[in-house]
């Protein structure tokens, strides 16, 4: 079995008395697109800062490529490209010069600059000063910076922030293509819809704690159906169902049953009809991934 590209074990991070991360653990398999999801303030950016060695954990370990980050910072960062929050660019330099600054530090061939500029479709604008770039262009240049060193691991924090729909589509296409080139992508987002389209694996974090980790299929298995009933004499119907040991909830003219309803729609229907209550609507509603995400992050 191949070792994980990122492995975080029981990691804690505190800012004063506030615990931003409370013993989170997860591992990112190689050649995957790993979506790290959570609402704002969940601890996503803090986790990324720990992965990149920008901050030190107060407890637990962070390992990249099987090596503890604390002891092998330079070696593991040599194989890592990153873009944390907004891209960090020098606006008085051109796009190409920004990449040249980074290229000199990474000591990679000059040809890498044109390669990554081509990948993010910025070749024609590379000679312009960055202060004249749009938000989307800056985001793409940030991604080019992250790709410049031909990394084995790409860490992206909210990479589609500020991109228009076209830019988001391009970013998705690019990120999706990277695992086939041997690049593992770790990306954070607060949008499940975004991660759903590109990630092979998902972790959900909320209030500094892991709520879920697995593949997207694993997450889909968390989906559950609830039953919705519309009937006349709603109040009587509810009383009847309570007597039958079920736990209906009234929502205006509708009666809802949660995912753990101890009955089938057919039995509920029979029960009501036999009691002389007309049922005008009966359906099973499948929870969307978004519902699961909200449920997990509200927990």
């Amino acid at each position: 079995m191949t070792s994980p590209v990122i492995q975080i074990c029981d990691t804690w991070k505190r800012y004063g008395s506030v615990a931003a991360l409370r013993g989170i653990s997860f591992s990112v398999p190689p050649n995957s697109v790993y979506g790290f999801l959570g609402p704002n303030g969940a601890g996503k950016t803090t986790t990324i800062r720990l992965i990149l060695g920008l901050q030190r954990p107060d407890g637990g370990t962070v390992s990249l490529f099987g090596q503890p980050l604390a002891a092998h910072r330079i070696a593991v960062l040599r194989r890592t490209g990153s873009m944390v929050e907004a891209p960090a660019l020098y606006s008085h330099l051109t796009g190409r010069e920004n990449l040249e600054v980074q290229r000199r530090m990474l000591a990679v061939p000059k040809s890498n600059i044109d390669r990554v500029l081509g990948m993010v479709d910025l070749l024609s604008d590379a000679g312009r000063l960055v202060r004249g770039y749009s938000q989307g262009m800056r985001q793409r240049l940030g991604l080019a910076q992250a790709l410049l060193g031909s990394p084995d691991l790409l860490v992206l924090d909210e990479p589609t922030n500020g991109l228009d729909p076209g830019g988001i589509h391009e970013m998705r296409t690019l990120v999706r293509s990277l695992p086939s080139q041997g690049v593992t992508v770790f990306l954070s987002s607060h949008l499940l819809s975004e991660v759903e389209q590109i990630a092979s694996h998902v972790a959900i974090v909320s209030k500094g704690e892991m709520q879920f980790e697995g593949t997207l299929d694993d997450l889909r298995e968390h989906r559950h159906a609830s039953v919705v009933v519309e009937a006349d004499q709603t109040e009587r119907a509810c009383s009847l169902l309570v007597e039958a040991g079920l736990a209906p909830q009234r929502d205006g003219g509708r009666i809802l049953f949660g995912p753990n309803v101890k009955s089938t729609p057919a039995r509920i229907n029979r029960m009501l009809v036999e009691a002389g209550i007309d049922v005008s609507h009966l359906s099973m509603e499948q929870a969307s991934l978004e519902d699961i995400f909200l449920e997990l992050t509200r927990a």
Binding site: R49, L54, I74, S82, E85, A88, S91, E97, R104
Partner: protein
């Protein structure tokens, strides 16, 4: 070698920056202004027949070391650190596979090179001022040969004595995200310099004020600056090591 790689990258960052312009603008402006002043009010120069060069170099270099160079250092360090602070480039810079100390030292070398460059230009400015004044006014002839050695030695000593101030200001600028705070502190120390330089004649301690050290290279009668050079170098190294240690341990938010 990582330090050279980072240094190479840092030099590119100075392109089109105000800090780089200052290297040329400050000495050219100061020497032009003082040349104009001496042309309009030549009496102090005329009072030193036969020793115009020493007077001219001391006059320009005193203004330079007491007022302009500390201000230059303040602005240069703040502007260079300001390249990283506004968009928090630190999070990108510190996630690169280079030792953190190389970033700190490379930036210090770039700022020091700027200080040296401007000092070299002010030395040229002294010599140009003598030539220009002589050609503008027949009374202001500089009969003796151009004292290249003396001027360059004085500038080199005064600039080397500034190392401690550069090291302090560099640390402060990298530590504080605000641009105004280090600049404000720099302006305060320039103001203090006037007070200290005035007091230095009688006060044993004030002569060791970091920003006042370079003035000692211009003192008449000449003093032995070798111990002061050691002091500036050693104290500068201590400040650099302390700043570098703090910089390497700093968490990037």
């Amino acid at each position: 070698m990582p330090l050279l790689r980072v240094l190479w990258a840092e030099t590119l960052k100075t392109k089109r920056t105000a800090a780089l312009w200052m290297v040329f603008a400050f000495p050219i402006f100061v020497s032009a202004l003082l040349t104009f002043l001496l042309w309009q009010l030549p009496s102090p120069l005329l009072r030193h027949p036969g020793s115009q060069w020493p007077f001219l170099s001391r006059f320009i270099l005193q203004i330079w070391t007491v007022l302009v160079m500390p201000l230059f250092i303040t602005l240069a360090t703040a502007l260079m650190a300001g390249l990283e602070h506004p968009e928090n480039q630190w999070k990108n810079l510190m996630a690169l596979p280079v030792p953190r100390w190389t970033v700190y030292i490379a930036k210090l070398i770039v700022v020091s090179a700027m200080v040296c460059g401007s000092a070299l230009l002010i030395a040229g400015g002294v010599l140009a001022a003598g030539v220009v004044l002589g050609s503008l006014d027949s009374q202001l002839q500089f009969p003796s040969p151009i004292p290249w050695g003396v001027v360059l030695r004085t500038v080199a000593a005064a600039t080397s004595l500034m190392f401690l101030a550069v090291a302090i200001q560099h640390w402060v600028s990298l530590r504080l995200k605000s641009f105004t705070l280090p600049v404000g502190a720099g302006i305060f120390v320039v103001f203090m310099n006037f007070v200290v330089v005035g007091a230095a004649r009688g006060d044993a301690w004030s002569q060791y004020y970091p920003w006042a050290l370079p003035v000692r290279a211009l003192q008449t009668p000449a003093v032995d600056v070798a111990p002061l050079l050691w002091l500036s170098a050693l104290a500068g190294i201590v400040v650099t090591v302390a700043g570098c240690w703090e910089f390497c341990r700093r968490e990037v938010s």
